[in-house]
């Protein structure tokens, strides 16, 4: 039991331990549950930071902090976890975001049922998300993948707003629908290896040997699972509902982390293990991705509900991520990972802000807020403006690199892909950036700018509180740091992505 071997597992399972402890807190001492949540997610984060220091950035392509033991002999599943350059950024993002959510929950707990349960579910969710990013065994991956469903269902369903039951059910059913087919594909894939195995590394190395027809089918199964999670157009309709109705912390985690799981799955599993199918499927994925970009930004223009608007924007931003992946180039996939981290930070932040606005105004309708937030609460409004501007892909802020490099990837897609098609898509993607800028600036105008409407003029609304700053500051800092020093991500991912693209450029 070395530190190297256990660190990842420790970080993954600390939250679930915390969930159990919180569940055992007596009803009379509920307030201590909040402290516990911060402690446990913080402890996990500390482990994560220690990993960050122990990580050998020179060999990001290999697995580090690896633990590989048997788990379920009868099924052939192993407990194989580890981190490489692709996992690490998302892993750390998850740790950070959840910790910040716990901090945020210190005084901004959604109203409704017991806060104890809420925090326990949040920590359970964290374990699922973390596990997804470190699992190197398909069965284990799937287990973590699905573990997020139940906590998120209840987070939306119990602590959500208005139409929460519908949204929660839709979220659960839709994502479950996708993932069961993915499971079938996983199992089918495992039978293609000799000996049968679920080990992702092994399957990556032997992906080329699978017959072409079968690859296409297996990819189809995985596509359903991953695409729903991303979500890709037209499988996205659960997202606006779920994000809109979820409590603030739920939205932050959904947008910040959960969506990344789908794209990560494409990168980690679908593309490298099925190289032939990847080439065949990639153009369709790219087309859907670009449709998502344009469609989502148009839909955003039509939203009257601030939170729903932000939710829809995720569809578009994930479109850029998927476009990057579908280019099957080192640049594109690096861009995708960067885009995921950036979107996690930015959209997470946006949902925090929207949540705080809702806490004060008790409405999410843009027309009812009526503008003037920047006048009424300069700090909150300023943070919102900054984040929105980051979201539209301004250089110097986090949102830029993912978008631009995804488009660059599309200009010169990987071998076997139709350059003409991808360049056309690039053009539409570019148009999408204009529309994106349009709706975000329009939103900032409608929320932040203008004079304070009469109905709010006399109402005392507190500007950003200390706990809010505490939970936001790291994200705001990251928005700037990622924009100015993109190496903090690319330095980690590049080697791993190059190794990964080798599986489909070399082996395809």
């Amino acid at each position: 039991m070395t530190w190297e071997g256990t660190a990842v597992s420790l970080a993954v399972f600390l939250p679930v331990a915390g969930a159990l402890v919180i569940a055992l807190v007596p009803r009379s001492r509920v307030s201590s549950a909040r402290t516990l949540a911060v402690l446990f997610s913080g402890a996990a984060l500390v482990v994560g930071i220690a990993i960050l220091f122990g990580f050998d950035y020179g060999s990001g392509s290999g697995l580090q902090f690896e633990l590989h033991t048997t788990w379920i002999k009868s099924i052939g599943a192993g407990y194989h976890v580890g981190l490489d350059g692709i996992s690490l950024p998302l892993f750390e993002l998850t740790l950070l975001t959840t910790f910040l959510c716990a901090v945020y929950s210190l005084n901004r707990m959604p109203t409704g049922a017991s806060p104890k349960a809420f925090l326990a579910l949040m920590l359970l969710l964290e374990t699922g998300m973390l596990g997804t990013f470190v699992a190197f065994d398909l069965a284990l991956f799937f287990v973590f993948w699905e573990t997020v469903l139940v906590p998120m269902y209840f987070m939306i369903g119990v602590w959500g707003s208005g139409n929460r039951q519908y949204a929660a059910t839709k979220f659960f059913l839709f994502t479950f629908f996708g993932s069961v087919f993915m499971l079938l594909a996983f199992i089918g894939l495992s039978f293609q290896a000799t000996p049968h195995t679920f080990d992702i590394q092994f399957l990556q190395q032997h992906g080329g040997a699978i017959s072409h027809g079968l690859q296409l089918i297996l990819f189809g199964g995985m596509f359903l699972g991953f695409a729903v999670k991303v979500p890709m157009w037209p499988l996205h309709t659960w997202l606006p509902d779920a994000h809109t109705e979820a409590p603030t912390v739920g939205s932050v985690l959904l947008a910040g982390i959960l969506l990344k799981m789908g794209a990560y799955g494409f990168i980690r599993i679908a593309f490298p293990t099925l190289p032939y199918a990847a080439v065949k499927w990639a153009p369709y994925i790219a087309v859907l991705a670009v449709i998502a970009i344009v469609y989502a930004s148009l839909a955003c223009l039509a939203q009257r509900d601030l939170k729903r608007l932000i939710a829809f924007s995720s569809v578009g931003h994930m479109g850029f991520v998927m476009l990057g992946i579908a280019t099957m180039t080192t640049v594109g996939i690096n861009a995708a990972i960067f885009g995921m981290v950036a979107h996690g930070v930015i959209t997470g932040m946006l949902f925090f802000e929207v949540g705080s606005i809702y806490d004060r105004y008790h409405t999410r309708q843009i027309a009812e807020i009526g503008g003037g937030v920047l006048r009424k609460m300069p700090k909150l409004g300023g943070a919102l403006a900054l984040t929105a501007i980051a979201s539209l892909g301004l250089p110097g802020l986090a949102g830029f690199w993912g978008e631009i490099l995804a488009l660059l990837g599309a200009y010169q897609p990987g071998p076997g892909l139709d350059v003409g098609l991808y360049r056309t898509l690039m053009v539409f993607g570019g148009i999408g950036t204009i529309l994106t800028a349009g709706y975000l600036l329009w939103t900032v105008q409608r929320i932040d700018y203008g004079v304070v409407p009469e109905r709010w003029d006399q109402v005392a609304l507190e500007d950003t509180t200390r706990v809010e700053w505490l939970s936001w500051a790291p994200l705001l800092a990251l928005i700037v740091v990622l924009g100015l020093v993109p190496t903090v991500v690319f330095g980690i991912t590049n080697d791993a992505v190059r190794a990964l693209t080798g599986f489909f450029t070399g082996g395809g």
Binding site: S74, F142, G157, L173
Partner: protein, 487 residues
């Protein structure tokens, strides 16, 4: 002739317990009749202990090959006895508070469990038939045990009529099997069916008819119609009994028939099971979507679950031994897992019976705040039934998918239909969770008074569902090692 008394010790214990309960019943005063339950419980635990001594032992063949105690049988016996303990525990307060003939009830219940015990050891058509009847006949009666309730009467009548008709169909099939093969011994039937005699239409038709009898027991479409009505009308612990031990007994019998007697004709009957499995899971799930009475919903759910358990049968082929073994193990594993989660769900409903005797879904509103532990457990069971990690049900489905995809040919299609069904099923499983947790109660309600015993069982079940998930090998190696003698 020599009788291996060690081999049949569990059955002997059980028989003794039945008689003892009968005696206690006769002499106990009216107000103390509930004491018969602990008596039965002690006997059942004794039988369980006796069974545990058989684990890992050599296969014991007694009564001239008619009765075999192999690891398959032991596994099922342990399962039946464990579920007997659970059902007894669930019955205790329910029966005591419901003005039932408690003594007779426990006698009948234990008799049915005796039938369960003999079922997995029966390697002869006659023995199978008797075991099946011993499971069913007391069931007919206890289903109608709430005597003044017309619904309970109706439950008994429907169960009885469909049961007897199915028995008749099955017996007709058995008679034809006997006529074609000249024997009632399962291994002999297999030998004969492997010859030219097995090629006749009549042999195939006979197999179909026999399957029909067991299809009734496991509530497969179109033999399932009794199940929702009977579950709903019967006393709740009886519904729990029907949904798990009784169904598992049907599967135990079916497994022996199919994997021993009829295996040479697998290419014939596997497609039948494919049809049955598809119909069963699809119809069960679709109709369950529209249920508002929880027991009835669980009944349709158990129909659908039977479909999943039937699916491995459809994957069997004549000749591919290792695949057949995997299919067998998958079916057994799913049955065992199903037992845990389904009994758990029923236990929750029974635990709430004081507050919600009608078990209408609206009665459960806002329960999340009033009985969090129970709701957490119920959620675990429901999620498990839907087959979602982190619960045992996930591995249950997983192994079936594995076999299906390994099978190739129709396997992937069946797996595809099964996953679609999982999604549909999630719709109503979530429906229950939604009512319990998400929907607040319109009226002010107290915290439910759940019998301690039931709460304990529920929590134990929830724990089991999670533990089996974390380390399924704990559980999964049993079916793997559970070889059927004569195969």
């Amino acid at each position: 002739m020599n009788i291996d008394y060690h081999a049949i010790a569990p059955e002997l214990f059980m028989t003794g317990t039945i008689l003892l309960v009968l005696v206690f019943d006769a002499f106990l005063p009216e107000k103390r009749k509930q004491i018969t339950m602990p008596v039965g419980l002690i006997g059942t635990v004794g039988a369980l202990v006796a069974t545990l001594t058989l684990i890992g032992a050599d296969d014991r063949i007694t009564f001239g090959g008619m009765y075999v105690v192999d690891q398959f049988a032991v596994l099922f016996k342990v399962f039946f006895l464990a579920s007997a303990i659970v059902v007894l525990g669930l019955s205790f307060r329910y029966m005591q508070e419901g003005r039932y003939y408690q003594g007779e009830y426990y006698v009948l219940l234990l008799s049915a469990f005796l039938g369960c015990l003999t079922m997995p050891s029966s390697r002869d058509l006659i023995m199978l038939f008797i075991s099946l009847e011993l499971v069913s006949a007391p069931g007919f009666l206890i289903a109608a045990f709430r005597k003044t309730d017309p619904k309970s009467n109706e439950a008994g009548l429907k169960y009885f009529l469909i049961g007897v008709l199915s028995s008749a169909v099955m017996l007709y099939g058995m008679s034809l099997i006997y006529g074609v093969t000249g024997t009632t011994r399962l291994s002999g039937i297999a030998q004969a069916l492997a010859t030219k005699a097995g090629d006749s239409n009549i042999a195939l038709a006979a197999i179909l008819l026999v399957v029909a009898g067991f299809a009734f027991k496991v509530s497969s479409v179109p033999f399932h119609f009794w199940a929702p009505d009977t579950y709903e009308g019967a006393p709740m612990p009886v519904a729990a009994f029907l949904s798990v031990p009784s169904k598992a007994a049907g599967f135990a019998g079916l497994l022996q028939l199919m994997f021993v007697a009829f295996l040479p004709k697998a290419d014939f009957w596997a497609p039948i099971f494919a049809v049955l499995a598809i119909l069963t899971m699809t119809l069960g799930n679709l109709v369950a979507l529209r249920q508002t009475q929880v027991i009835r919903l669980l009944a349709y759910s158990s129909v659908a679950q039977a479909g999943y358990m039937l699916l491995p049968f459809a994957l069997v082929t004549t000749g591919n031994t290792s695949l057949n073994h995997d299919a067998f193990a998958a079916a057994v594993f799913y049955i065992l897992v199903y037992g845990v989660m389904s009994l758990g769900a029923f236990a929750v409903v029974i635990g709430l019976a004081r507050e919600a005797p009608g078990a209408h879904i609206e009665d459960y509103r806002g329960l999340g705040a009033r009985a969090p532990a129970l709701v957490v457990a119920m959620t675990a069971f429901l999620v498990s039934l839907a087959g979602i990690p982190p619960t045992a049900g996930f591995w249950g489905k997983f192994v079936i998918f594995q076999v299906a995809l390994d099978r190739g040919d129709i396997g992937p299609w069946l797996a595809g239909i099964m996953v679609l069904n999982s999604v549909i099923s999630l719709g109503y499983y979530l429906g229950i969770a939604r009512e319990m947790v998400l929907v607040p109660s319109e009226v002010e309600r107290r915290r439910p008074r759940v019998p301690g015993l039931v709460t304990g069982l529920v929590l134990l079940g929830a724990l089991a569902v999670v533990v089996i998930f974390i380390y399924p090998d704990l559980f999964a190696r049993f079916p793997d090692g559970a070889t059927l003698v004569g195969r």
